[in-house]
Structure formats: C-alpha cells, structure tokens
C-alpha cells in the first residue's frame, strides 16, 4: 500500500482529533482538519472563525435548495469545497490523515484508505469536554449532544449511510476503554497490518 489515507470520524469528546493527530505523527504524514477551514476561508475571503461556524454543519432545509448538484446553501458549498480539496489531495497520491468531512465515503474509491470511527462512553466524554473546554457537567453534556447532532445531520445529508454505523468504517473503536494513547497504539498496529498487505 504506497498511499495511506487515514479517515477519522469521531464523536465529540471522544478524543478523535487527538487520536488523528497522534496517528499523523506516527506515520509522518500531514493531517487535514483545521487546514481545511483556513483553506476555504482564504478562498472565499472570510475569517476562519466564520467558516468554522459553518464547518461540518447541515444546511437549513427550509431556506436551501439543490438543483442538479448545485446548492444555494453556503454550508453545502463549503462542504463541497472541502470534499473537492481532499479528493484532489487523494488523487495527487499524497498520504494524509483527514478528520471528518464524510471522508470515509468520499474517498472510498482510493485503495489506500483506512477508515476509522472513534466513539466513547458518555461519562468519559463529559469528563474530557469539562477539562478541555472548562465547562460544568451539564454544559459539557449539552455541548456533546449538540455537536454530535450537528455532525450526524451533516454526515447523513451528504452521505446515504448513517454516521457512526460500523458498516461504514474499517474499524470502530471506543476510546474510553483503552484511553487515548493506547487507542492510538492499537490503531497504529491495525494500520501497519493493513499497509503490509
């Protein structure tokens, strides 16, 4: 397997982004997450914060319409720009890690793709969100539910199969069982086994 593309889908608070960063480091390949936001922000001439608001967000159905693959929704167009970006990167033969962006489906035709979904127990996720975002337990739970709902709607709008459905990914793993570092270890072993094929 000469090209390696690691797609990481994740529940909010599961440590998915940190795991993706860890994998990128271990395999010495770039990670596309924040970069996808700045790239789009530069292209459309707005601040990364404004794109962040609309990033991985579903469109507002009542004020959006799609015609022959074209959409008036800014959310949809930002999503399409990001899909194009990762597809072009994949076509160039580059190896990389990509977080979210329906990449497990959008890049499924590339033989070098390893798709992963990181989930977690609610208690562990709340604890983690409380630490990282410095919020109380109630707010942490609300934030998790809100963010996951948004990711789910975004994913299921752009892709036919359901977000988090294990049949969509090569491996789904609960990071609460082994903790972040050991989850990275296990995933590294799995990916190395795949690349040796």
């Amino acid at each position: 397997m000469s090209q390696l593309i690691i797609s990481v889908g994740r529940e909010f608070g599961s440590g998915g982004r940190v795991i993706a960063e860890g994998l990128a480091k271990r395999f010495g390949i770039p990670i596309y997450d924040r970069h996808l936001i700045t790239e789009v922000a530069e292209k459309i001439g707005v601040s990364p914060e404004e794109v962040e608001e609309l990033n991985e967000a579903p469109n507002s159905r009542l004020i959006s319409r799609k015609v022959r693959g074209y959409s008036n929704s800014i959310e949809d167009n930002i999503a399409e720009m990001q899909f194009d970006f990762i597809r072009k990167k994949a076509e160039s033969g580059e190896s990389f890690v990509v977080v979210g962006r329906c990449s497990e489906t959008k890049l499924k035709d590339f033989s070098g793709l390893v798709s992963i979904f990181i989930l977690g127990d609610m208690e562990t996720k709340i604890k983690r969100v409380m630490e990282v975002y410095e919020v109380n337990e109630h707010d942490a739970q609300n934030l998790i539910e809100k963010k996951d709902k948004k990711r789910k709607r975004y994913h299921n709008y752009h892709v036919h199969m359901h977000w988090g459905d294990s049949r969509l990914y090569d491996i789904s793993i609960n990071s609460s069982r082994l903790g972040i570092d050991r989850t990275i270890d296990l995933l590294e072993k799995y990916i190395r086994a795949r690349t040796e094929e």
Binding site: V46, I63, S64, Y70, N72, E80
Partner: protein, 453 residues
C-alpha cells in the same frame, strides 16, 4: 368522492412537504405520490379506470393533434408535450455545451465590448435574457456565471452584482416565450398557445421590464463594479473566444441546429408543428449530427427532471379529477367578488409569492386547471379570456427571482459564485433582487390592467 378528495389533498400536501424536506430525490417523491394517486384516489376510492386512463394520456401520442395542430386544443392528464419538448431541448443543449458553444458566445460578447466591466455587465444581462427565451435558464446561468467569475478574476471586479443581475434577467427572459421556462410550456401546451402568443403578451412586458431592470441594476450596482484598482485591459492576455470551441465540426452543427430550433419555435403557429414534434425533431437531428457520441448525449439527459414532471402531472390530475381545483377556483372567484382586476392581481401576486419560496413547476401545474375554470367568469366580464394565463406565467416566472431558492437559475448562479469564493447570503441576494422583483411585478400588474381589462 369525499374519501378520494381527502386522499388527493393529503397526497398533494405530502408531496409538497417532501419536496421542501429535500431528503428524498424529488422525482422519487412525485412518482411515488403519482402512483398513490392512481392506486388510492382513482383505483380504490373512485373505482374509475377511465380517470386512470385519462391521466396517463398515453393515447395522445397516436393523436394527430399531438404532432401537428391546426386548431387550438387543451390537453388533460400527463402533459406529454411538455415532457417530449423538454427532453428534446435537453439533448440539443447538451450537444451545444459539448462543442463549447455557450462559453464561446460569452467570451465573444465580452471581446466585442473590449472586456470593459460596465459594457460586459449590460451585455451579459441582455444575453442572459435572450438566451433564456429559448434555452433552459439553468444551462444559461451555469455558463454565464462561470465566465463572469473568470472575467472578474482577470479584470479585477466583484462578480456578485453581475451574477445576481444575470440570474434575474434569465428568469425574466424565460417569461417572454413559451419555451423559456417550464411553467410557460405547461401553460402553453395545456391551453393551446403558440410561441407568438407568449411573445406578444408576456414577451412584450418582459421587454419593457428588461429595460427597466438594466437601468435599475446599473444604478444599484455601478459602484461595486467599478474597481479603484482597475488596470487598463490588455486584451492579448485574455483567453480567446475561439479557445472555447472544443469541437469545430460539432460547434458548426450545434449552432445550425440551435438556429433551426429557434426558427421552428418562432414559426410553429404557421407550420402547425407542435412543441412535441419540434422537440422530437431537434433531438433526432442533434443525435444524427453527434452520431459518434449519441449515447453519451442521451445519458446526459436529466431524466430525473422528466420523471419529476410525469409524477407531478399525475398528482395534480388527482386534485383536478376529484374537483379540488374547482373548489380553489370558486374560492378565488368568491374572494375577488367577480372583480376581474382583483382576480388578475390575486393570480399574479399569489403566483409570485408562492414561486419565491416553492418550486414554480408544481405550482404552475396546479394553477393551470384553476385558471381554466375561472375563464368563463373572465369572458362574461368582457375581458380577454387569456389574461389569467399571462398573469400566472409572469407571476411564476418572475416571482422566483425574489429569493435564492425561488428558481433553479438562482440556485445554480449562487452555487457557482460560492464555489469560486464568492458566497451569496440570503440577505445579500434579497437586498437587491427582491425590490427588482417587486418593480417588475408592479409594472406587469399595470400592463395587464391597461392592456387586457
């Protein structure tokens, strides 16, 4: 009958909600709802094989009137003439696009005005309106917006005002002819109008409104279009129009075929060829001219839209056969109190407001039988019986311009702009285009009152 009426209304409302929900592809929605109408409304509730047969209208293909029409006639059931015509035009447009016709035309016009921003702005608006009179506005805007973005990057101007103006003019141009916008084809084929009937009635007001709009958009956008950093234009650095042509032979053929289509449409009241036979003929000669890639062209036809139409016509027939549309017609008649002016204003403005938020095709298909039911009241008042048809066409075609989701051209134009780094929000869109829509509707109302009542 009551059960049939209830089911017909429930199916129709469910269809509309599912289209707005946008989770299932819309052709599946209309086909599914159409099937339900045939089985539940006509089959189970009405037990009427005749209603099913009339709705499917398959026998129309064998009728001479479908291909060659000497006297005006109205059609019922699935409007196959609309479907055959749109399919034929889709094949022709695919052939033209493949040869590079549209990109060449845009670049050629930009060159003719020496790529100066304001002249490009004005000529592109006019070109958008004129092309949309014959070709679907989606294709027109797809190419025009892409070339506008390309020119804006080379000439350093903001493309958003130009794209917004092009969208508006495409919708306005579409209202001018029978083949310009799907609602007009539905109205025209259902009520037996010719290309010239539209041109002399909706076309006349569209022409007046185009002049007003060009002035309006020039006044509201001129400051945004003139860049302070504008450099003298070096024409040698710009892409040549001829570079847009991908296949010279195909380009010549597609230009000739387009010319033939225009001539046939303009003269169809003289030749008596119906839009169905024109669509079929144009499709056949396009496929013969592109014999090597005929299969490729056929594959590119937007079958989903054609299937959407078929299902939609069946659902609307459900409302018509069960008498629901007659109730709506009676309601409009009651609230207008027999006042024709009020009736015309209601049809025009209600069509426009509805089309600004929902797809204008289902709306027009639903309204056609209603205005046919209202025609006797108009005739009795001594007014032109077709006034309501023109009000419906103008309302549905122009009203769609008011919001980014009102018409297909709006969605395509704003999407092309966003993908190239120029997102257009609802606020940005409506701030200029909603007032322009109101202006055109006001002019149209006055036009209908003065000319026909």
């Amino acid at each position: 009958m009551l059960a049939a009426q209830i089911f017909a209304v429930v199916i129709f409302i469910a269809m509309f909600l599912l289209i707005v929900w946008d989770k299932i592809e819309r052709h599946y929605i209309t086909l599914g709802c159409g099937l339900l109408t045939l089985v539940v409304v006509f089959g189970i509730c009405m037990r009427s094989g005749k209603a099913i047969w009339n709705t499917l209208a398959i026998k129309c293909f064998a009728a001479k009137d479908f291909w060659y029409q000497v006297s005006e006639s109205e059609s019922k059931g699935i409007n196959w003439a609309t479907i055959v015509f749109i399919a034929g035009m889709m094949i022709m447009v695919e052939g033209m696009a493949k040869a590079g016709f549209f990109r060449w035309l845009c670049m050629k016009i930009a060159y003719l005005v020496k790529c100066r921003t304001i002249p490009v702005f004005i000529t592109f608006m006019i070109m958008s309106a004129v092309l949309s009179m014959f070709i679907d506005s989606i294709t027109v805007i797809m190419f025009l917006a892409a070339v506008t973005v390309e020119l804006s990057q080379l000439l350093k101007f903001n493309p958003i005002p130009m794209i917004l103006s092009e969208i508006f003019c495409a919708n306005l141009g579409g209202s001018a002819t029978m083949c310009g916008d799907p609602p007009n084809i539905i109205v025209g084929t259902s009520m037996g109008f010719s290309f010239f009937d539209f041109l002399l009635n909706t076309g006349a007001v569209a022409g007046i409104c185009l002049i007003v709009c060009v002035i309006f958009f020039y006044l509201v956008f001129r400051k945004e279009l003139i860049s302070e950093n504008a450099q003298p234009i070096d024409m040698s650095k710009l892409p040549k129009p001829s570079e847009a042509i991908t296949d010279k032979k195909g380009f010549i053929f597609s230009s000739i075929i387009f010319g033939i289509a225009v001539v046939l449409l303009v003269t169809h009241s003289i030749t008596h060829l119906t839009v169905a036979s024109i669509g079929t003929f144009i499709a056949i000669i396009t496929l013969i001219a592109n014999a090597k890639d005929a299969l490729g062209l056929l594959k590119k036809v937007d079958y989903k839209t054609l299937l959407f139409f078929i299902g939609l016509f069946v659902v609307v027939c459900g409302l018509e056969e069960t008498g629901i549309l007659q109730y709506i017609a009676d309601f409009i008649s009651d609230i207008s109190g027999g006042n024709i002016m009020l009736m015309v204003a209601i049809i025009l403005w209600m069509s426009a407001i509805a089309s600004a938020f929902v797809d204008n095709i289902p709306f027009a298909a639903t309204m056609v039988p209603i205005i046919q039911s209202l025609a006797p009241i108009v005739i009795a008042s001594g007014a032109d019986p077709n006034t309501l048809a023109w009000a419906l066409s103008i309302g549905t075609d122009v009203g769609g311009s008011a919001t980014p989701i009102g018409a297909s051209a709006n969605v395509v134009g704003t999407s092309v702009a966003a993908k190239n780094g120029y997102p257009i929000s609802w606020g940005r869109y409506c701030k200029k285009l909603a007032p322009a829509t109101v202006i055109v509707l006001a002019i149209s109302t006055a036009y209908l009152f003065v000319r026909y009542l």
